[in-house]
C-alpha cells in the first residue's frame, strides 16, 4: 500500500523558520539541558561528551553530538505489514493514516452502552480497519480491560495480529521486560528475530514528559526495541500554555529538544536504529481544562514538526483527526477536519487519530468510516491539479465544441475516478430521494458499513503454530507475574 501521494507539500514554516527553531533547540539543549531518567542513557551521553549532573539527572548536550546522531539515524523507515501489500513506506513523499489507540472506553456496537473497553472491542476495531480505503497502520484502538493487567499489553498485540494484517504500532510498552516479550511475539509471527529486523511488523511509541524530561523506564524500553530493529517514535507533546510556551514556536522548540535528546540517546545505544519524531502539540482548553486534540493548532504544529523532521531526514508521526466531542456529528467532524487538514497537506508521514472521540478516549466504530471519507476528501485536495496534455483535454474540448456535452466522451469516464472524489458515505441525493429513503444520517449509513465489515473474515489468518507461540508467551507473562 502506497499511502497518500503528496504533489506539493503545503508549508507552514518558512525555510529560515526551520533553521531558527533548530538553532534554538540546539542552543537550549546545551545551556538548559534535559532531565534524563535512565542511567544507561546518561552514561552513554556522558561518554559521548555531554555534561551530566548525576544529582539532578540533567544532561546538557553539545550541538555537535546531536548533529552526529542525526547523521547516523535511519533515513528510510518502512512500517511493514504482515502482508507486504500493507507496508507503510515512510519515504517522506507519502502520508499514511493510523487509527487512534489505547482508548479506555468503547461504545458497545449492539447496545450503544458507553463502558470500559474489552478484547472484543479491540478485535472489532481491527476488522473495521481492514475495510477502510485510507488506513495504513493499525494501533490497538482500545485496551482489553477484560483480561488481567499483567498480560493486557500482550493480549492486545495478539488480538491485533489475529484480526489484521497491517503493521501494528504499539504504545503500551513501558518496561524493558514488556519490550522483550512483545519483540518475541512479533518475531514469532514474523518468522524469527532476523526477519523481524528486516521487516519490522511492529513499532513502539515512547512519550517524553513535557517540558524536557525523559522517563527512565520508558527510554530503557525504547533501547530494547532499537536493539531488535523495531522502529521507535519519540512522542513529544508539550501543551502550549501548560507544559510548553503558549506560543506555538516556543512549544515546538521544547518538542524539538525532547526529540533530539531522545534520538541522540537512541543512536548512542543502537547506532543506525530507526527513530521517528512523534508529536501531539495540542493546547489545553483554558475554559474546560480538556485537551483540545481537535484544535487547528494540533494539526498546524504537526505540520511544522514534519517540515523540521524532514529537514533532519527523519519521518514524522503526528496526532490529528482528533476530536474532543463526546459523540459523532457536526462538532466531531469539524474538529477532526481542523486538526487533520494541515497534516495531510503538510505531508506528515504518519497521522494517528481516527476512530476515537473525547480526545482519544472512546471508540466509535462508525467514526472510522466517517473519518475514512474525510481523509479521502483531503487526499483529493493533496493530490492537486494535474496539468498535462491528457488533463488539458484540448482534443476533447474541440470535439465536443461550443454548447456540447462532455458526459458521453470516453475521456470523461477514463479520468472520472482519478479526477473526482467519489463519496462512499456522503449522500448527495436530492432532498426528496434522501427523504424517501428513510432520511438516514451519516452515522446510520456508517453503521451499515460497520456491520458489513464485521462480517468479513480477517485477512491472512495467522498459522496455528504462530498463535500457539503467542499464547505460550502470554502464559509466560502470567506465570512470571504470579
Amino acid at each position: 500500500m502506497s499511502g497518500i501521494s503528496i504533489r506539493r507539500p503545503y508549508p507552514v514554516l518558512a525555510k529560515e523558520d526551520i533553521g531558527r527553531i533548530h538553532e534554538a533547540a540546539l542552543r537550549e539543549l546545551e545551556r538548559l539541558g534535559v532531565k534524563i531518567g535512565t542511567a544507561k542513557g546518561r552514561s552513554l551521553l556522558a561518554r559521548a561528551g555531554a555534561r551530566v549532573d548525576e544529582a539532578s539527572h540533567v544532561v546538557r548536550i553539545p550541538p555537535a553530538l546531536v548533529e552526529e546522531a542525526l547523521s547516523h539515524t535511519a533515513k528510510r523507515i518502512v512500517l511493514c505489514g504482515r502482508n507486504p501489500h500493507e507496508d507503510a513506506d515512510l519515504d517522506r513523499e507519502h502520508v499514511h493514516i493510523c487509527n487512534d489507540g489505547n482508548g479506555p472506553v468503547a461504545i458497545d456496537f449492539e447496545t450503544g452502552e458507553r463502558r470500559p473497553s474489552t478484547a472484543k472491542d479491540l478485535a472489532r476495531s481491527a476488522l473495521v480497519s481492514n475495510a477502510l480505503d485510507n488506513l495504513h497502520v493499525f494501533w490497538p484502538m482500545v485496551t482489553s480491560q477484560d483480561v488481567p493487567a499483567e498480560i493486557r499489553t500482550y493480549v492486545d498485540l495478539r488480538v491485533s495480529f489475529v484480526h489484521t494484517n497491517k503493521h501494528v504500532q504499539f504504545a503500551t510498552a513501558v518496561t524493558p521486560e514488556n519490550a522483550r516479550r512483545l519483540t518475541e511475539m512479533a518475531a514469532a509471527v514474523a518468522g524469527g528475530r532476523d526477519e523481524l529486523r528486516k521487516r519490522p511488523i511492529i513499532s513502539s511509541v515512547h512519550t517524553s514528559i513535557a517540558p524536557l524530561q525523559h522517563d527512565g523506564g520508558n527510554m530503557d524500553t525504547a533501547f530494547v526495541f532499537g536493539e531488535a530493529g523495531v522502529p521507535v517514535a519519540i512522542f513529544t507533546m508539550p501543551g502550549p500554555g501548560t507544559s510548553g510556551p503558549v506560543t506555538l514556536a516556543g512549544s515546538i522548540v521544547v518538542a524539538a529538544m525532547e526529540f533530539l535528546s531522545g534520538l541522540t540517546m537512541c543512536q548512542l545505544a543502537n547506532p543506525g536504529c530507526p527513530v521517528i519524531w512523534g508529536t501531539g502539540i495540542a493546547p489545553l482548553d483554558m475554559k474546560t481544562t480538556t485537551r483540545a486534540g481537535g484544535s487547528p493548532e494540533h494539526g498546524l504544529t504537526g505540520a511544522a514538526v514534519t517540515q523540521i523532521a524532514h529537514a533532519y531526514g527523519v519521518p514524522s508521526l503526528c496526532g490529528g483527526f482528533d476530536a474532543t466531542a463526546s459523540v459523532p456529528g457536526t462538532q466531531a467532524t469539524l474538529e477532526q477536519f481542523a486538526s487533520g487538514l494541515s497534516l495531510v497537506l503538510g505531508g506528515a508521514d504518519l497521522i494517528c487519530g481516527t476512530g476515537l472521540l473525547e480526545d482519544a478516549r472512546t471508540l466509535w466504530l462508525e467514526q472510522l468510516f466517517i473519518d475514512d471519507e474525510m481523509v479521502g476528501m483531503i487526499r483529493r485536495i493533496a493530490e492537486g491539479v494535474v496539468v498535462d496534455d491528457a488533463h488539458l483535454a484540448l482534443d476533447v474540448i474541440e470535439k465536443v465544441g461550443i454548447g456540447g456535452m462532455f458526459l458521453g466522451q470516453r475521456h470523461t469516464m477514463d479520468h472520472l475516478r482519478d479526477e473526482h472524489f467519489i463519496p462512499k458515505l456522503v449522500d448527495r441525493r436530492s432532498f426528496d430521494l434522501w427523504s424517501a429513503d428513510g432520511r438516514k444520517s451519516m452515522e446510520e449509513r456508517a453503521r451499515a458499513k460497520v456491520r458489513d465489515a464485521l462480517a468479513r473474515p480477517p485477512p491472512d489468518p495467522l498459522p496455528d503454530e504462530a498463535v500457539r507461540e503467542l499464547d505460550r508467551l502470554i502464559e509466560g507473562a502470567r506465570a512470571s507475574a504470579a
Binding site: 456535452m405 469516464m413 441525493r429 436530492s430 426528496d432
Partner: protein
C-alpha cells in the same frame, strides 16, 4: 443471428461507441432482423445499463456512453426496418426551459437521462414561450412535456403553460412535468402539474410511470 443480437446488447453494455457502426452493418450483412437487433439487442442493453445506474453501480458518463452507443446502432438498423412492419414504440418527450429563464444544466441532464432510458427527447432549449412549447408537443405527438425554471421569478410561467394547455384541451393527451431548484412537490401539485422529481433519475422514473413503463 442470435449471436449478433447478443453482441449488439453486449456492445451497449460495454459502451463500445467506436465499433458499434461496424458491428451493426456486419449484423445486417449476416441477415439479422433489424427489429430484433433494436429491441432484443440495443434496447435490452440500454435497459440493463439503466438498471445498473439506478442501483448506483454505474456512473452517469457510463450511462450516456451506452446511450450514444445505442443511438449509433439504431441509426444503422432503423432505415432497414421493412416498411409496414410493426414500428418500434418510442415515447416522445418535449423539454424546454420556460420563458424569461436561460438556465438549462438540469434540463439537459434530464434530457440525457431520458434518452439513455429509451425516450425520444426533443429539446427546445431555453427561454421558450408556452405557445411554442405546446405547438411543438402537438406537432411531434409528445406524450410528455417537461419544463424547468431556476428562478422564482420565472416559475409562474409553468402555471401559465398549464393554463394555456387546459384552454387548448391537450391536458388529456400530454402529461406535464415541472422541475428546477425552486420547484417543490407542493408547488407542482398546487399548479396542477403531473409531478416533479428531486433529480434526473427521479424524473426518469416519473416519466416511465406516466407512459406505463413502470417497473
Amino acid at each position: 443471428m442470435d449471436d449478433y443480437v447478443a453482441r449488439l446488447k453486449q456492445a451497449v453494455i460495454a459502451y463500445d461507441m467506436e465499433n458499434m457502426e461496424k458491428l451493426a452493418k456486419e449484423a445486417l450483412d449476416h441477415g439479422m432482423d433489424p427489429i430484433q437487433g433494436i429491441e432484443k439487442g440495443l434496447g435490452a442493453g440500454i435497459r440493463e445499463v439503466g438498471q445498473k445506474f439506478g442501483a448506483g453501480e454505474l456512473f452517469l458518463p457510463e450511462l450516456v456512453m451506452a446511450a450514444e452507443t445505442m443511438r449509433s446502432g439504431v441509426a444503422i438498423l432503423e432505415p432497414r426496418v421493412p416498411k409496414g412492419s410493426a414500428a418500434r414504440v418510442t415515447h416522445k418527450v418535449v423539454l424546454a426551459t420556460v420563458q424569461d429563464d436561460i438556465h438549462e444544466i438540469g434540463k439537459n441532464l434530464v434530457g440525457t437521462m431520458l434518452t439513455a432510458n429509451g425516450f425520444d427527447v426533443i429539446d427546445l432549449g431555453v427561454n421558450q414561450p408556452s405557445e411554442a412549447i405546446l405547438k411543438k408537443a402537438a406537432e411531434v405527438k409528445a406524450e410528455i412535456v417537461g419544463v424547468s425554471a431556476l428562478m422564482t421569478t420565472s416559475m409562474p410561467r409553468m402555471k401559465e403553460l398549464l393554463n394555456v394547455a387546459a384552454t387548448k384541451g391537450v391536458r388529456s393527451k400530454e402529461k406535464f412535468l415541472v422541475g428546477g431548484a425552486p420547484v417543490t412537490e407542493q408547488y407542482a401539485k398546487e399548479i396542477g402539474s403531473d409531478g416533479t422529481a428531486g433529480d434526473a433519475s427521479g424524473a426518469v422514473r416519473l416519466a416511465q410511470k406516466l407512459v406505463g413503463m413502470g417497473r
